[in-house]
Amino acid sequence: MPKVTIDNITIDVAPGTTILNAARMIGENVPPAMCYYSKLQGSGGKCRVCLVKVTKSSEQNPRGMPKLVASCCTQIADGMVVENVTSPEVIEARKGIVELLLINHPLDCPVCDQAGECHLQDLSYEHGAATTRYDFGRRTFDKIDIGPYIQLHMTRCILCYRCVYTADQLTNERRHGIINRGDAAEISTYIQNVIDNDFSGNVIDVCPVGALTDKTFRFKSRVWFTKPVNAHRNCDKCSGKVTLWFQGEEVLRVTGRKDKYGEVEEFICNTCRFETKQKSDWVIEGPRRIDTHSVIAQNHLPYELDVVHPQIEAAQ
């Protein structure tokens, strides 16, 4: 098995694994990913926040790679040495890209529905500057309703293309795409009318920012005030395994079960997501552990806590 060293930690991985997935196997200092989504074929490479430095390409080729590479779409080779957080160059580049992502993104997290579980918010806390150097007008779009349940607000979009892949890959035909170029590019092609299949709600789950939101949940509560609970029901369209988000006895929203990296374990259908919001519709399994380091994890169900052993200082 090829060996790869990331930030001085060596691991054996299967050939063909990407640097990002190898880092996820190690589980420490994982490069962030805004566009890569392991369940979506062809995703990745676009947001550039997962850039890492390869200081040694392989056992045969001890030279590094001349540029920083996107870890989500660069495959490992035996003997590869990668620097992520140990490289100041990578941190600098990542900081730059976060700044660029934010120049046209509204900085109104307090009124955004995604706040608390937004990947861009996490990134900007980690790498962003406290002030902006961009003092020009920001790009804005009108909100678009995609059917009765989903709202698209392109102003917040970072063009990760995840929803495009989701809509293409969960159904048999191509659903939507991108129109226009450069910073005028938008997710579109008459999107309000074409997205009408049973699994369209998954575009909300894959969206790393608040561009696609659940209209049945919008502005009902901040996500960190709701209690996530694993639940299931018999569904003839999907697995029916979901996370319910409770406030008191009321189910405010239903989402797929998201892992540490914000990726759903299984895609769920619109009936489960939007139409079955009674507690009686579901079989409750137990509390959902939140593993992301987002604000959402701050109020409840954190990482397993270290056991604290208070010690009384010896009298001097």
């Binding site: 990745g44 490479g45 676009k46 947001c47 550039r48 926040v49 850039l51 540029k67 920083l68 996107a70 779409c73 580049a93 730059g96 890209i97 700044e99 660029l100 992502l101 120049i103 046209n104 150097r133 961009y134 020009f136 970072i158 063009l159 293309y161 795409g177 991108i178 226009n180 170029r181 450069g182 910073d183 005028a184 590019a185």
Partner: protein
């Protein structure tokens, strides 16, 4: 004194556009020779020996590129000719395709034979629609004469050649975006690897070459790779078409032997004929809008004091600190009355407009740079804008999917590096800067030691 001309020797003969006139002037000999007397690998070998380098801008050795084509599968292979010539300042391929279309057709047949290609495409930019008709007519004539189609010239080799117009995007000149566009998709560059030589058009092994590169192949087959390698200087073999424009007496497309001194190229009557109106030379963009701009003091001599030559190596001498690139040969000359800030803004505006928007640094950064440069040029700039601009370009360069990001960052970086005084003057004298231009400034001052 008459110089050796490989591509443009017969270009002014009116009959050369038609197939009869082209054959009368020695055309299609290379197809006959290659198909009847050579093996495909021998053709590739000659191209390798010739030292021919890609004329689209990067200067990658063509023979080596051809040898990378993946032969281990039974998938069809494709040859694509990149005629999406959209670089501001470059207009050399247009001349070839307009005046001597059969040279490209002949080159495509010979190159396709070398690569074992059965279907080849010429991807031409949409704005060249009238040239598409010229090429289509040339292809039709070649089919009628038996140079294309089934069993060419009675051999077992068959080839179909198609012309396909682009929709008007600069990015479709990037080879993987070109492939996407040819497949009928949005012209977004692909993430590499896999490289097109392994997985290109419709997932099959594909080679993409520039028009001028392909047009060199007939000469190499006729005269041999070694004869071609003797022309030129060092690793810059052969001739190169340079499309000269700007403040010169004789703008136009010139075929030069690589190694001609830049000074001679600008001032001799054989080429550009000097600066218009006898003004001073202020700056030069030697290879199309993407390459770094050079100030007066670095144009005719390198930082080491050697004469600067028109070759891949000499123009790049000194790296980005004091050098530039030959690029695609879009030679833009600026006289003392031109404004570097305005020109940089103009280039940035182009890159902002043409960014495909797929990856974040380029999508967001090109627009930001354009806005800052617009502000500087129009008298609203601040001193910290210059450093900000430097910072933004540095964050784009090297962090993008395709070379477009670098191409948008380099001209901005070089302009600040060499013409910082002019940028500062725009900030300090905003009123004056909107009325008159800065002039020569420190452009002609002796070289100081700068680092990239």
């Amino acid at each position: 004194m008459s110089r050796l001309k490989i591509l443009t020797e017969h270009i002014h003969k009116p009959e050369i556009t038609g197939i009869e006139g082209y054959i009368k002037n020695g055309g299609y000999r290379a197809v006959e020779k290659a198909l009847k007397k050579m093996q495909p690998d021998e053709v590739t070998e000659e191209v390798k020996k010739s030292g021919l380098r890609g004329r689209g801008g990067a200067g990658f050795p063509t023979g080596m590129k051809w040898s990378f084509i993946f032969k281990g599968s039974d998938k069809p292979r494709y040859l694509l000719c990149n005629a999406d010539e959209s670089e501001p300042g470059t207009f050399k391929d247009r001349l070839l395709m307009e005046k001597i279309p059969h040279l490209l057709v002949e080159g495509m047949i010979a190159s396709s034979f070398a690569l074992g290609v059965r279907t080849a495409y010429i991807y031409i930019r949409g704005e060249y629609m009238y040239i598409l008709h010229i090429l289509q007519q040339a292809i039709d004539e070649a089919y009628a004469k038996g140079y294309l189609g089934e069993n060419i010239l009675g051999t077992s080799y068959s080839l179909d050649l198609h012309v396909h117009p682009g929709g008007g995007a600069y990015i479709c000149g990037e080879e993987t975006a070109l492939i996407e566009s040819l497949e009928g998709k949005r012209g977004n560059p692909r993430i590499k690897p896999p490289f097109p030589a392994v997985e290109g058009l419709w997932g099959c092994p594909t080679i993409v070459n520039n028009v001028e590169t392909i047009c060199k192949v007939p000469f190499i087959i006729n005269e041999g790779g070694e004869a071609y390698a003797k022309i030129g200087i060092g690793a810059s073999t052969g001739t190169k078409l340079i499309s000269a424009c700007g403040n010169i007496n004789k703008p136009g497309v010139y075929e030069i032997e690589l190694g001609v001194p830049v000074e001679e190229f600008i001032y001799s009557d054989e080429y550009c004929g000097g600066i218009k109106g006898g003004k001073q030379l202020k700056a030069l963009v030697p290879g199309g809008s993407s390459v770094p701009i050079l100030p007066n003091r670095l144009i005719t001599t390198t930082a080491k004091g050697e004469p600067r030559l028109m070759s891949y190596e000499s123009l790049a001498d000194g790296g980005f600190a004091t050098g530039s690139m030959l690029g695609s040969g879009g030679f833009i000359v600026f006289d003392e009355d031109q404004c570097v800030v305005r020109n940089t803004w103009n280039f940035s505006r182009f890159y902002h407009h043409e960014s495909c928007g797929q990856c974040s640094p380029c999508r967001e950064g090109t627009g930001w740079m354009e806005k800052i440069l617009h502000r500087l040029e129009h008298g609203h700039g601040r001193m910290e804008d210059i450093d900000l601009l430097w910072d933004v370009q540095r964050k784009i360069e090297g962090n993008t999917i395709c070379p477009f990001g670098d191409a948008s960052a380099w001209p901005v970086a070089a302009a600040i590096r060499h013409f910082r005084d002019e940028f500062e003057w725009h900030v300090l004298q905003p009123q004056e800067a909107t009325r008159r231009n800065y002039g020569m400034g420190r452009s002609a001052e002796p070289i100081e030691q700068v680092t990239a």
